[in-house]
Symmetry: C2
Subunit: 343 residues, 2 copies
């Protein structure tokens, strides 16, 4: 591997001069600079990242922490979109992406924070993690620049999908379609779930809908089996809902199977809606009505926010960006004759 030392010898200058030439310092002769850069190129010089980091303490590497309950890893169809967009944006600005994990060295395991310190990430983004995990909290409390996605901590910047508005839009739409008996199979407890659930209740209340307790049930995100069970329970109720909301589009598939197996059809016999807007939903028959999260913008905003914190630590206060979703009108919500004269 060729180093600046090698270049300095060839060009007959000192290493410092080479370093300056390659880093575009102003106090260097135009001609010398050109000659050095030219030589560097010819010799196939690639800077040594390790020694650079050692001196500058900047890695241009960002850590990504992600670990959902279902262990879906990179195959998570909401997060993988967000991450992809995050990656694109970060790479455009010269940052690389490395995954944070409980790094193994010998027989020791590093905690997340240790791993971040070890790799000297300039910053960290986290999503979908167990936000009460002590290791996660330790990372949050550290002084590493950090952005969370879909979870708010004190003094930490966040990009968050607007679940309150999203759920409201969804419920209002369903209401406008004439539904008055709306059930909600919600995800397990988390900040996201809480926000969606309270928005669900609030919106129903505003619309003058009563929500029988048995209409609200829990099933883990992306858990098709559980969604199947909950759907069956709802279908067996004496007063069956006319529309069921699911934790997410993927879990919905389980619900859809339950409905089909019960000899019912969407949307003729029962209406449904999901949440997320994953690719597959559009191709179901009928296409699933859902609240499409703006994954591109979520990832992009998170990356910009994080890089901003890294590059302007002084001027950046803990901030919060709310990213709105968009209602996707599939065909899974049937228009009912309005129960009380609404259009």
């Amino acid at each position: 591997m060729v180093s600046i030392k090698d270049i300095s010898v060839v060009c007959g200058v000192s290493v410092a001069t080479v370093s300056k030439a390659l880093n575009n310092y102003k106090d260097i002769g135009e001609e010398t600079k050109a000659r050095i850069c030219q030589t560097a190129r010819e010799m196939g010089y690639v800077p040594n990242f390790a020694s650079k980091v050692l001196k500058t303490n900047r890695t241009y590497n960002l850590g990504v922490l992600f670990k959902d309950a279902a262990q879906s890893g990179l195959t998570h169809d909401y997060f993988s979109y967000v991450l992809d967009s995050f990656k694109e944006t970060a790479e455009d600005k010269g940052y690389d992406i490395t995954f944070i994990n409980g790094r193994v060295t010998g027989n020791n395991r590093m905690r997340y924070l240790e791993h971040c310190k070890y790799r000297r990430f300039d910053g960290v983004v986290m999503a979908c993690v167990d936000f009460y995990d002590p290791e996660v909290l330790e990372l949050i409390r550290s002084d590493i620049p950090l952005v969370t996605i879909d979870h708010v901590y004190n003094n930490r910047s966040t990009v968050i999908s607007d679940n309150v508005k999203g759920m409201r839009d969804l419920v209002q739409y369903i209401y406008r379609m004439g539904h008055r008996r709306i059930a909600y199979i919600h995800g397990t407890d988390s900040a996201v779930t809480q926000r969606r659930l309270s928005s669900f209740y609030k919106t129903c209340e505003d619309l003058g809908l009563e929500v029988p307790p048995e209409y609200v049930r829990e099933a883990a995100y992306r858990d098709t089996t559980r969604a199947w069970i909950r759907t069956m329970e709802l279908l067996r109720l004496k007063e069956r809902p006319t529309c069921i909301l699911y934790p997410d589009d993927f879990a919905y598939i389980g619900g859809l199977n339950a409905i089909t197996e019960s000899g019912l059809k969407v949307p003729d016999d029962i209406s449904t809606a999901g949440y997320d807007g994953i690719a597959l939903g559009k191709y179901l028959a009928p296409p699933l009505t859902t609240l499409e999260q703006d994954t591109r913008r979520l990832g992009m905003e998170a990356a910009n926010m994080l890089i901003n914190i890294i590059e302007h630590p002084k001027t950046t206060l803990a901030d919060q960006i709310l990213v709105e979703g968009r209602l996707f009108e599939g065909g899974s919500v049937k228009r009912l004759p309005a129960a009380d004269g609404e259009q």
Copy 2:
């Protein structure tokens, strides 16, 4: 940040001794070692990765190159599974994962190889890339330990999904189900496509099936629109096929829509089969018959292979691991009355 220097001061020993203690050298007193390790822990010592790399030239970081034609990035539903498994395996062995890209620094863009050299990856895995891209070839020809997935190069190790056997299994199954007019919408030209396509022809020939040229058409992988068009073309043929094979499960969705829009039903009016075995396929109605690729094993083998090359460079020759898939019998292939007396 605490360094071994700090520890050496506290313990009253030299930095060399601390280094030895922390790295489990044998020529060090048990007691001293214990004391040093204890102190290091108490002081919250985390080794400085950069200086370590500078001396040892080992980063324990692997580069991942992935860029498919459709730019699906991390959301690719075959690759994201492979990568996830690769990541798990690598992390278990103490390696981290970073994405390779045309890294941007200032106004220069690094080529893939430069990026790898810069980050000093111990090894590289590549999948789904344009294998004829000059930058990719440059990387292939370099001396960096490297494993490719689903593409064979001279002198480079590969993990490859057994597309020949996969396609054969699929076609034979369809034949056993009584089908004699089988169409194949294949992906665009690539090693994978070639293998599947020639296996398709070969198997048909072995089974004594003639394949009219108009039964074989092309549509890019994951391209639902193109699959829709090709399906429509096939459905309009005078002698319509009884079964259509698709490039992959995702593209199939486009085909399914074409079929539905034509007023036909799967499998009653026409049978279908995909390739890949993505999660969604099982939840379609009927579940899609497909050749499920063993993504877990592909990722795992690739990681093991790569780490093996890195850690035993001498003893490891360029190798090739074939990973078999598994036929998933969904319900999309209808049993037909056997045309010629087979069971």
